[in-house]
């Protein structure tokens, strides 16, 4: 390798990997000029997505979701609580998004990632505003007992599009959720009905009908990256770090806009760009819906 004497274009003189690390922006822009992304995708295409339901045996509902190499594990544990006074016949969902130190080099034990609480909040807001879940379905005995669903999402591998993956895994886990059959004992405490003596016990389960949640309008999301005139769907962590402007759009299954989120960034998002993003999201929603349906039907076959 010779010593470059011109400070301009070094790409011909360097190995690809070195160029990628030293001049990430140039590296990406040269790709964009060729209408292709470093991983070989065209601009508008999202990465391969897969959903595996029931990954955690110790939880009531769980899902492992992968978008590209971003991997998230969501699991729901159901516990019983006394409902709040202002809403005696409603249950509750507590959503928490964790980024354990394994998922990314920037997270260290005792120093949680900045992104985690942000995604947590976005998730809770999105799921609340989508009206996907009727909290009344989580009620057991009005004013006495209701379900508290703890939905914990762990990011196992962070490679961009964290919110999209988290939302998809949350939705998948909720669709997989099996509410355990319970009955009331003499003390007014809720107890589990075990499978074998379910017949012999005279008591009726309190939630005979309500073993699965009806998910009304399911929210799906797509994050797009705006750079100059390009719109890149579903960016990887590397793309996110090089180019700043992100737009996340959440639509429900009937293509209603649920939320739109653009956290700063240098490029102003023009209305036309947003329109394009929404169009991309619309396509993506169809894809995700079919992936989710497939996963659900695969579970039923088993």
């Amino acid at each position: 390798m010779g010593f470059p004497n011109a400070s301009g274009d070094l790409s011909s003189e360097m190995e690809v990997d070195a160029f990628r690390r030293l001049f990430p922006l140039q590296f990406h822009e040269r790709h964009l000029a060729e209408s292709i992304r470093p991983d070989g995708r065209p601009f508008g295409r999202a990465r391969d997505t897969s959903i595996a339901l029931g990954a955690v045996a110790s939880a009531n509902g769980s899902a492992l979701v992968k978008i590209g190499s971003t991997t998230m594990l969501a699991a729901i544990k159901m516990e019983v609580m006394t409902p709040l006074l202002e809403s005696p016949d409603e249950g509750c969902i507590a959503i928490d998004f964790h980024m354990p130190p394994i998922c990314s080099p920037i997270v260290r034990p005792g120093r949680p990632a900045e992104a985690a609480p942000v995604v947590s909040k976005q998730l809770s807001d999105t799921i609340a505003s989508s009206g996907m879940i009727d909290l009344k379905e989580l009620s057991l005995v009005s004013g006495k007992a209701a379900w508290m669903a703890y939905l914990d999402i762990y990011c196992l591998n962070a490679d961009g599009a964290l919110f999209d993956t988290a939302l998809l895994s949350a939705v998948a886990a909720l669709s997989h959720l099996q509410i355990p059959a319970v009955s009331l004992n003499d003390d007014g405490k809720v107890v589990l009905m075990s499978e074998e003596d379910g017949e012999m016990v005279a008591k009726e389960p309190v939630n005979k009908e309500k073993r699965k949640l009806t998910l009304k309008s399911i929210p799906f999301s797509l994050t797009c990256l705006l750079h100059k005139n390009y719109i890149l769907a579903d960016p990887t962590a590397e793309e996110e770090s090089v180019m700043e402007t992100l737009v996340t759009i959440v639509l429900d299954s009937s293509s209603q806009l649920i939320s739109l989120y653009k956290p700063g960034g240098s490029v102003l998002a023009y209305t036309s760009a947003i329109q394009d993003c929404v169009a991309l999201t619309r396509q993506r929603v169809k894809e995700l819906q079919s992936v989710l349906d497939e996963a659900n039907s695969a579970m039923e076959v088993e």
């Binding site: 955690v56 045996a57 110790s58 939880a59 190499s69 991997t71 594990l73 699991a75 729901i76 544990k77 159901m78 516990e79 019983v80 609580m81 409902p83 709040l84 409603e90 509750c92 969902i93 507590a94 959503i95 928490d96 964790h98 354990p100 130190p101 394994i102 998922c103 990314s104 080099p105 260290r108 034990p109 005792g110 998730l123 809770s124 807001d125 799921i127 609340a128 879940i133 909290l135 508290m148 703890y150 914990d152 762990y154 196992l156 591998n157 962070a158 490679d159 355990p180 319970v182 009955s183 004992n185 405490k189 809720v190 107890v191 589990l192 009905m193 075990s194 003596d197 016990v201 962590a237």
Partner: protein, 256 residues
Amino acid sequence: MAGKAGTTPTTYSPSPTTKKTKAPLFKDDDVDWVRPDGRGFPQCRPAFFRSGAVNAASGSAYAEFGNTKVIVSVFGPRESKKAMMYSDVGRLNCNVSYTTFATPTRGQGSDHKEFTAMLHKALEGAIMMETFPKTTVDVFALVLESGGSDLPVVISCASLALADAGIMMYDLVAAVSVSCLGKNLVIDPILEEENCQDGSLMITCMPSRYEITQLTVTGDWSTPKINEGMQLCLDACAKLAKIMRSCLKAATDSQE
């Protein structure tokens, strides 16, 4: 709804209806009880390893032994914390944590300090620390689901992740535990067995060098029994290391 989570009322997980005491897992002198998952006493659960599970890490591995599922990432060697003084050998930093849904009752998902210390001790003897002076290697483990023998699985998985990261080691570290139930020694116990064990023995060793890096014993053991338990573990470690080695080999083959 989720916004209310801050003022969460106290919750409990519903317990089974009938409070009948569970039939003991085994009877004291009964030699031919069957293990809950139908294995023989000296039989390990089928082990599944996969390296390279997390692409943001320098090296990583996923291990699944029955219901015990563990993922380990290795970062580094990278710059030590600023406060650290100069050191001419490398540093090893470990952390083991559980997910909130790893255990049958919902936990806090906090760090497991005991396991963190044990993992550190089990690995430090195997790593050639002098090959990365002034820097730190971080080994972070997350137990996705706890199904018994968590620590041995974490240790084996961590050594695989270290190998995947290309950290120089004298040998792979394999770990196996046995539980003592009455008169019987059962290897690679599941959660139920661990909960009623009379004693346990865990060995982490470097099979090719035939050296033990970490050993813990609890409960009442006579010398012949310790001998027997150790031999059982060492044999199992050797077999486990073979599986780990073939996993690494498969990974490199597929890369080529």
